[in-house]
């Protein structure tokens, strides 16, 4: 099994996400993360999906996804030619005594505290998945009450845009 990041340009129409995820599920692939949003072009949305899959079935699922009428374009973003970001928020146990320690860790990782309560703080982190995972490990001993994370976002390096030709 290997992990692949697909960037998918779709028409912004009702049911598109259902068609997309339904097809992936039917073919027996596991979605690791998913992020959806509008793009700079009106009427087009972009799905960034990270799937765990062998190479040959990946080609098959890409072909099947391409058959969806609402899918405009699919690109696999290779790690070496793209930038990807994970975004996580942790709610960490932190009473008055621990708060300073947590704040130090947060600062070392370039993360931010976005909410403070009497016995807990909420920490926001953005970065490579590895970095965010490392922060997770360091915060673990304080006691993590809650984690929420977005799907991975990814974009190709350089000046070329995925939507360059889709707009025409």
């Amino acid at each position: 099994m290997s992990r692949h990041t697909l960037s998918v340009l779709v028409e912004d129409k009702p049911g598109v996400l259902t068609r997309f995820t339904g097809l992936i599920a039917r073919r027996g692939f596991n979605i690791h993360s998913l992020a959806v949003g509008t793009t700079e072009l009106e009427g087009l949305s972009r799905i960034t999906v990270v799937v765990d899959v062998e190479d040959t079935p990946l080609e098959q699922v890409t072909k099947q996804l391409n058959k969806l009428i609402n899918v405009i374009k699919i690109v696999e973003l290779e790690p070496e030619s793209s930038v990807r970001r994970a975004h996580m928020i942790f709610k960490v146990r932190a009473d008055a005594a621990a708060r300073v320690q947590v704040a130090t860790v947060v600062e070392m990782f370039g993360a931010r505290i976005i909410d403070v309560a009497v016995d807990a703080v909420s920490v926001e982190a953005t970065g490579e998945q590895d970095k965010v995972d490392a922060l997770h490990r360091v915060l673990e001993p304080f006691g993590i009450k809650e984690i929420v994370q977005s799907g991975t976002l990814a974009i190709g390096r350089g000046s070329k845009s995925m939507t360059d030709r889709a707009g025409r």
Binding site: E11, D12, P14, G15, T18, E42, G43, L44, Q60, R168
Partner: protein, 623 residues
């Protein structure tokens, strides 16, 4: 909705050679002045503009608005079915027989869910079908309102595409796009679900031929480089075989297939979905490959050094155990659907394109750059092939029960009806015998449920085929099990004047289930006995059932009475005919490759395996 900048639009009618009637020809009329009509009227008006002449359906609450203007349409002939499944299969039969889009209509909730099986069936067999369903009013969607069912959600995996329309102004565009998607590229079923309020409200109707689908661009024309590589492989091959699939029939590529085969002298096999794509009487035809294929077809593929797959999809019923399928062959795989290529078997030369264009491009390339190879008669290959054809022809052992032999019945129906007949079948033994023992000479003459294997397909599909091709004789060759699933459409046939002929191959059991129980479950016949046949209570009595519907019903118990009954059936054209052929329950379909094993272990008859040892020498040379 506001479309994105992508303005790559597709015309609803792509150019085709003038000689070929294009499926679902669009009637070109000048764009009309805007006219205010209801959504329901727009449904009918749009179907008329798309050239639809027949709709199979059954009204109900949420589609009632559309049924009102239906009454006034002079162009559309609506066939009122007795069950929506019948409407779906009839639309499929209509489409498979004519090459045009078949249209069915149903109400929301159960009406729509009854279309699920035929939609899945049409999806598996790539049949262009448009299904229009009524839906609860948009304000009630998601409230579990009466007869509300999320049919778009339910059918996503079994349709090529679907639309939920909640605004009247979207109706013409959605139906036009659905029609276009259904019949272009790899054909398939498309569903348009229209809320009741959208049907009742009004819109300004303006006709527009353009369909804007930025994410849908089927590739018809093959890549020249791939054609060149394929032609080179063909030119150097010693033991090539054409593996023709249903795509040949959908694309109307039978003439091009024949031209290529005859120019190259390459043998042809036709899959279950491709029966009729190449004439059975042609000396280069080896028959059907696969689980119940002929020995020559199966053996040729197993020994081939080049497999030329056109419009076929390496289905498990053809390949058997995939790892040992065609072990010596390189593969050229041409298909209009890129996702089929390499799905089950890696292709040395993949070609994406329409079968007709691929075949004519291949022949042109062979004539242009490899003309010397066309002189190659491949004599040693044909010596082997002809040996197999001679030693292992398709045949059967007549039974000793005194009852009709199912294979004989089907052979006689074929002979007495002639090559213009249309034959439909459901799934099971009768289907395999009908695939084997009818002589198919032309495309669009064999309609069956190949991919999904739907019991009950035959009668409604025959009804649809007869509606679309009224001048051809249409036989539903059915099993006693299958027939009991959808025979209510005989009422439709009688009332609507659709004189189909039904031949029930009545072995009083779920025949193929019984065959597997005989072979693989020690003859323990668990729940496969139907009590419809010889020496049973005959519930129901098919002859009386036929008569109750107003059909001519006849029972035939012995081979010597078969011809007379068929001739009688052929002479009756004012109503449907049901022939109840009593056959023994123990008759089996041969040859057979058991599920999941190598095609090398094909059995010609029970426990009889073809002897390929004499070919051992050649095989040495093969590798």
């Amino acid at each position: 909705m506001a479309g994105p900048a992508p303005a790559r639009t597709q015309r609803t009618d792509t150019p085709t050679p003038a000689s070929v009637p294009h499926p679902g020809t669009v009637r070109r009329t000048p764009s009309s002045q805007p006219e205010v009509i209801t959504g329901a009227q727009a449904v009918i008006r749009t179907l008329e503009r798309l050239g639809v002449d027949t709709v199979f359906g059954l009204p109900g609450g949420t589609i009632l608005p559309t049924y009102d203007p239906m009454l006034d349409s002079e162009q559309i002939d609506h066939v009122l079915v007795r069950h929506e499944q019948g409407a779906g299969h009839a639309a499929t039969g209509y489409a498979a027989a004519t090459g045009r889009v078949g249209v069915c209509m149903a109400t929301s909730g159960p009406g729509a869910t009854n279309l699920v099986t035929p939609l899945a069936d049409a999806h598996m067999d790539s049949v262009p079908v448009l299904a229009i369903t009524g839906q609860q009013s948009s304000k009630l969607l998601g409230t579990d309102a009466f007869q509300e069912a999320d049919i778009v959600g339910m059918t996503m995996p079994i349709t090529k595409h679907s639309f939920l329309v909640t605004r009247p102004e979207d109706i013409p565009g959605a139906i036009r796009a659905a029609f276009h998607i259904a019949r272009t590229g790899r054909p398939g079923p498309v569903l348009v679900d229209i809320t009741k309020d959208a049907q009742v409200a009004t819109l300004e109707f303006v006709w527009d031929d353009d369909v804007e689908l930025p994410g849908y661009r089927p590739v018809n024309r093959p890549h020249a480089k791939q054609i060149r590589e394929a032609a080179a492989l063909i030119a150097e091959s010693r033991r090539p075989v054409i593996y023709a699939g249903g795509g040949i029939i959908r694309s109307g590529a039978h003439a091009e297939l024949r031209a290529l085969a005859e120019a190259t002298g390459i043998p042809v096999t036709t899959t279950l979905m491709a029966r009729g794509a190449f004439p059975d009487s042609h000396p280069q035809h080896l028959g059907m490959p696969g689980m119940h294929g002929t020995v020559p077809a199966v053996a040729a593929i197993q020994k081939a050094d080049l497999l030329i797959a056109i419009g076929s999809r390496f289905d498990d019923r053809v390949t058997g155990e995939l790892e040992t399928f065609a072990p010596y062959a390189k593969v050229i795989h041409a298909d209009i659907d890129p996702a089929e290529i390499g799905k089950n078997r890696v292709a040395e030369v993949p070609i994406v394109g329409d079968a007709r264009e691929v075949l004519s491009a291949l022949l042109e390339e062979l004539r242009g750059s490899f003309s010397a190879s066309l002189e190659d008669a491949r004599e040693s290959w044909w010596t082997l092939l002809n040996g197999w054809k001679e030693s292992y022809p398709l045949g059967y052992e007549p039974g000793d029960t005194g009852l009709c032999d199912p294979q004989y019945v089907i052979e006689r129906i074929s002979t007495l009806t002639g090559p213009e007949g249309i034959y439909t079948a459901g799934v099971g033994q009768h289907q395999m015998w009908a695939a084997q023992f009818v002589e198919y000479e032309r495309p669009n003459s064999w309609l069956n449920s190949g991919g999904l294997g739907t019991m009950g397909y035959a009668v409604p599909a025959a009804m649809g085929a007869k509606k679309g091709e009224p001048d051809r004789v249409v036989w539903a060759i059915d099993g006693d099990g299958c027939f009991q699933m959808t025979n209510q459409e005989l009422a439709t046939c009688v009332i609507s004047g659709i004189p189909i002929k039904v031949a029930i191959i009545n072995n009083s059991s779920l025949g193929m289930v019984r065959q597997w129980q005989t072979l693989f479950y020690d003859g323990r016949y668990s729940h496969s006995d139907l009590n419809t046949g010889h020496e049973t209570v005959r519930v129901p009595d098919f002859v009386k059932l036929a008569e109750a519907y107003g059909c001519l019903g006849l029972r035939v118990d012995r081979n010597e009475d078969v011809d007379r009954a068929i001739e009688q059936a052929l002479a009756v054209n004012d109503r449907p005919v049901v022939l109840d052929f009593t056959v023994p329950a123990d008759a089996m379909v041969w040859p057979m490759v058991p599920a999941g094993v190598s095609n090398d272990s094909i059995q010609y008859a029970r426990d009889i395996r073809p002897d390929f040892s004499s070919e051992a020498a050649e095989e040495g040379e093969i590798r």
